[in-house]
Every structure is written in C-alpha cells, then in structure tokens.
C-alpha cells in the first residue's frame, strides 16, 4: 500500500463521507420556516373560511364537485370591504402561550 493509497483510504474517504453528511444536514433550509414560539410573525394576515354547504362559489357552474373541493383552502386576503355587522353580545375566550 503506497502512501497515496493510505491517504486516500484513511483521509479522503472519511472526509468525503463527513462532507456529504454535513451537506445533507447543515444546508440552509430553503423551504418555508416552521413556526417556533417567540419568533416574529412576518406573514400577511390570512382568513380561512369554511366552504359553503353546497360547494364553493355557488352559482359558478356545477363542474366543481364537492369531493374535489375538499383540498382547496378558502383563503381570503383580508376583511376590508366587507360590511361590519355586530353579532350581539359577544362571548369567547383568550389565551396566550
């Protein structure tokens, strides 16, 4: 076994393995970041609404079956432009974490 072979087997190969694992685990997460308590929330405000009883956007044609609509989030950009109506004496609860 020559010196070059020894170096390749005992230094280069482990180093390659280590670098490969490091690249797999330490790369910056480019996907969306998971929420962690204490982090600032820098997303736009979103509304999620339930689908209407008889499929979304009733009156927009019958091609949209209810089964297909299940995976579609009803997402609204904001509450502006909607009439504000009071729902009487309000109840509810509040919590912090």
């Amino acid at each position: 076994m020559t010196v070059v072979e020894t170096l390749l087997v005992f230094a280069a190969a482990p180093l390659a393995v280590v670098l490969l694992l490091a690249a797999l685990t330490l790369r910056p997460d480019r996907t969306r970041s998971r929420y962690r308590p204490g982090q600032p929330w820098e997303h736009e405000a979103v509304w999620y609404e339930p689908h209407a009883e008889h499929g979304p956007a009733a009156g927009h044609g019958g091609g949209h079956s209810g089964g297909h609509g299940g995976a579609r989030p009803a997402l609204e950009a904001g509450a502006t432009g909607r009439p504000a109506r009071s729902g009487g004496p309000l109840g509810g609860a509040r919590g912090t974490w």
Binding site: Y35, P50, T96
Partner: protein
C-alpha cells in the same frame, strides 16, 4: 407541425375562484403552511361548520395592541351572520389567540368551553404546532357546540 396545437392560455379564474387555486404556486411566495397543512385546516373548518351549523372562520395575523378589540372587529366583518359566527384569531407573533363567538353561537359555546379549547390550542402552539392546535381546537369547539336543533334546508 404542432403549431396548430399551440393555443393561447387564458386565465379563467374569477374573483371568487382565483384565491382558491392551489395549482398556481408561483404567485404566492408568502406561504405559511404546506398544502397538506392547508388541507387539514380546510377540512377541520368545513366539517366543524357543517356539523354545527355555526360559521367557523380562522384569522392568522397580527392583532395589534388591543387584541380583543381587534378580534371583535374582525368577527363583525367576517362575513355571514355574525351572531352565528365563531372567529378564532391567532397572532403567532404576539403569542395570543382570541376566540370570539356571536350571540347565537355563544349560547351553544359557553365561554368556559371556549376557554378549554383555547387551552388546548395554546398547548400545541407553545410546542410550535400551529396547525395541530387549530385542528384540535376546532374539533373541541364543534364537539361542544353539537348539532343544531333543526338544520335549515334539511
């Protein structure tokens, strides 16, 4: 040879359907949840609303300084009949969750039941699980509210 196949594509989305399109992923760089999580949220919201006859809506975003007042404003403008609406407003940046029930909804969802659901939600939120907490909270609220006496139109 294939030139006759190249038709110009038209965006057929209307104002009502465009926000629900999930196959056009490039338009929304600000994506909070994955599709899977969105589907869970969607199912939880829709099923709890259908089972109870109440209208559950979910707001995720900043609530300002007066979180309760802002949540009640949002509840008033959440669409539908506010008396039968239940708003879950979560502000992850402020670590606050507010549940607002309208007058009719509050009869079936007493404040103690809401507090219990909030408690379970905050437990999950503290662990970093926003969607799980919301789904469980919705389930608890809808279980508590039960079925309506008489479903309109059925």
């Amino acid at each position: 040879m294939t030139s006759f196949l190249q038709a110009e594509s038209h965006d057929t989305a209307t104002e009502a359907t465009a926000p629900a399109r999930v196959d056009e992923g490039t338009d929304h760089p600000d994506r909070i949840f994955s599709y899977r999580e969105l589907a869970r949220l969607d199912e939880a919201l829709t099923m709890s609303s259908r089972e109870t006859g109440l209208r559950f809506t979910l707001y995720i975003g900043d609530l300002g300084k007066a979180t309760r007042a802002r949540a009640e404003e949002l509840h008033a403008s959440s669409g539908g009949d506010p008396a039968e609406s239940v708003l879950i407003a979560v502000s992850p940046g402020q670590r606050v969750v507010e549940v607002v029930t309208g007058a009719a909804a509050a009869r079936r969802l007493p404040d103690r039941a809401c507090a219990l659901a909030v408690l379970s939600m905050t437990g999950s939120f503290a662990g970093g699980d926003l969607v799980g907490g919301l789904v469980n909270g919705l389930r608890q609220l809808s279980d508590q509210a039960g079925h309506p006496w008489r479903r309109p139109g059925h």
